[in-house]
């Protein structure tokens, strides 16, 4: 494949580099905020579930319902629908700030389910043993559930981050920036397929790096693995 003049220009003007940086930055920030909302939500989903450490049927049903609704709306539609929320929270429905708000709204329910499934992996007996020692519910969450599922939570965070990176590319179509936006406006709309492929390549590299670092951290923190 030939590298066209336009790709060279994009590189020389630092547009591609900026795109990489913006993608990473949006992904990291959105993941962070998605976890700030999604982690407690996931914990709540797990703890209040039937058979959980503090079953609350109605709360669990409501939370589960809301999460499911958000998870079943295709991301691109959710984004458009949530533009007013972005305007309300960060004062604009354009640009990266607004995109991050929408990414967080879309990703938080996903993160919540991720967290919930990680916590489910903690053996019931481990939790019961702690209960038998007179551990209060909140301490059970902070000292047993979360530390015991840490490797799985980290793995989940990597998967979430990669998903959010995918979302961020889509955000490029409705006013976000980053590699997605470059691929759409320079590659697709101006018919330079090599620009698209360069963006794809860069995205793959970013995903691989995230995956590799994440897996290493998860492995290093998992004390169940025999050294």
């Amino acid at each position: 494949m030939m590298i066209s003049e336009i790709t060279k220009q994009l590189w020389d003007n630092g547009i591609l580099q900026l795109g990489v940086w913006e993608t990473i930055y949006m992904t990291l920030l959105s993941t962070l905020f998605a976890y700030i909302i999604g982690l407690p939500l996931g914990v709540l989903l797990h703890v209040t579930s039937p058979g959980g450490i503090k079953p609350v049927k109605w709360l669990n049903a409501i939370l589960g319902f809301i999460v499911n609704i958000f998870r079943s709306i295709p991301f691109i539609i959710l984004m458009v629908a949530m533009l007013p929320v972005a305007k309300f929270t960060v004062g604009t429905s354009m640009g990266n700030k607004a995109m991050i708000v929408m990414l967080v709204i879309a990703a938080a329910p996903y993160v919540a389910r991720m967290v919930e499934s990680s916590l489910k992996e903690v053996p019931e007996g481990t939790v019961e043993a702690a209960q038998a020692m007179g551990t209060p519910t909140f301490t059970l969450i902070t000292k047993v559930l979360i530390p015991e599922s840490k490797p799985s939570l980290i793995t989940g965070a990597v998967i979430s981050m990669v998903t959010i990176l995918g979302y961020s590319a889509m955000a490029g179509t409705i006013g976000g920036t980053g590699l997605g936006q470059i691929a759409v406006s320079w590659g697709y709309q101006r018919s330079h397929s090599d620009v698209i492929w360069i963006c794809v390549l860069l995205t793959i590299v970013i995903v691989q790096i995230i995956q590799e670092i994440g897996t290493r951290i998860a492995r290093a923190t998992d004390k169940r693995i025999k050294q």
Binding site: P123, G125, T126, E128, A129, A130, Q131, A132, M133, G134, T135, P136, T139, K143, V144, P147, E148, K150, P151, T221, D222, K223, R224, I225, K226, Q227
Partner: protein, 329 residues
């Protein structure tokens, strides 16, 4: 003292209701090792889990030192649980914490200072003989070692009671023996009252003072281990205690006598003296001999020759030597 009064527990299952415990009454005295034995599904785990309210009974009372756990507020219940240690078949350690971290856990919960907790944990580690494993993770330990850590953890807050749910069922015989010896030592030296759940008669035999036999969600029999051993009353107790003796009872032949030893005499001299004194050849059809608290208990099933005079001689000898015996049908 642990008192369970009229305890009933029902589980809701798809097929309807399942009564796991029916009208359980039992008292565990301070300082004793109390055994609860029964077949799988009898309700043993449910029973022991009712003692610290991991399972909430439908009705009845759970009294620990006279205080009813069922009417306690959450905070008081959590406090009470700290005076009741518990160990499990599956060890249930925190996999992401070191051995020492596991033992410190209940102390952290109880609000003990870090330095103090560490010192206490080290003390316990030496009690269970694992000092050199302090920094290891559970995944690096054997089953027996894991159970030792679990025992150390359960004892960290100096509980008065220790509940053991099938604590040795996942271990090989040698390891089982060492864990049982450790429990016995804890009972003797620290005065911890221990409740042992098991389906193995051998465990009861080795360390328990009293035993409750549970079957079909109900307690069938309860008493001193030596009594239940020498004269089991319920069918289930007989089945659990004398499986081999029962099987041999079906052999056809001459008269059969069951000699019962209640801790007064030793086994071997009796049989050999009987043979030598009466000049009666006997067949030992079955023998269940146990040593409980340093005394000899058990039963020997003797097959006598098909000869009335010889039988009469043997029985007369047993009577004069005050050996309890029964004629088997």
């Amino acid at each position: 003292m642990i008192e369970l009064k009229n305890l009933t527990k029902t589980f809701r299952v798809p097929a309807g209701e399942l009564v796991a415990l029916r009208d359980i009454n039992l008292t565990v005295n301070d300082g004793e090792i109390f055994g609860i034995i029964g077949l799988s599904g009898a309700g043993k785990s449910t029973l022991v889990r009712c003692i610290n309210l991991l399972e909430r009974p439908d009705c009845g009372e759970v009294l620990i030192d006279g205080k009813n756990l069922l009417t306690m507020k959450e905070k008081e219940l959590l406090e009470t649980r700290r005076s009741i240690g518990m160990i499990f078949q599956g060890f249930c350690l925190l996999e992401q914490r070191t051995v020492i971290g596991n033992i410190c856990f209940p102390l952290e919960i109880a609000g003990v200072k870090k330095q103090e907790a560490k010192a206490r944990a080290e003390e316990l580690l030496s009690l269970v003989g694992l000092t050199e494993k302090a920094k290891a993770y559970p995944s690096q330990l054997s089953g027996g070692q894991k159970q030792r850590v679990a025992i150390a953890r359960a004892l960290a807050t100096r509980p008065k009671y220790l509940l053991c749910d099938e604590a040795t069922s996942a271990l090989d015989p040698t390891t089982t023996n060492s864990i049982l010896a450790l429990l016995q030592e804890i009972n003797r030296t620290l005065g911890v009252t221990i409740v042992v759940i098991t389906h193995e008669m051998d465990v009861i035999d080795r360390i328990c003072h009293r035993v409750a036999v549970i079957d079909k969600s109900e307690i069938q029999e309860i008493g001193e281990v030596s009594d239940v051993f020498t004269s089991p009353k319920s069918e289930i107790a007989k089945e659990l205690i004398l499986p081999s003796v029962k099987a041999v009872g079906q052999i056809k032949g001459g008269k059969k006598l069951r000699l019962v030893f209640d801790g007064e005499s030793a086994f071997l001299p009796v049989v050999s003296d009987l043979v030598l004194d009466c000049r009666v050849p006997v067949n030992i059809l079955a023998a269940e001999t146990k040593e409980i608290d340093g005394k000899a208990f058990g039963q020997i099933l003797l097959g006598l020759p098909d000869d009335d005079r010889m039988c009469a001689r043997a029985e007369a000898w047993l009577q004069t030597n005050r050996i309890t015996y029964f004629e088997e049908a």
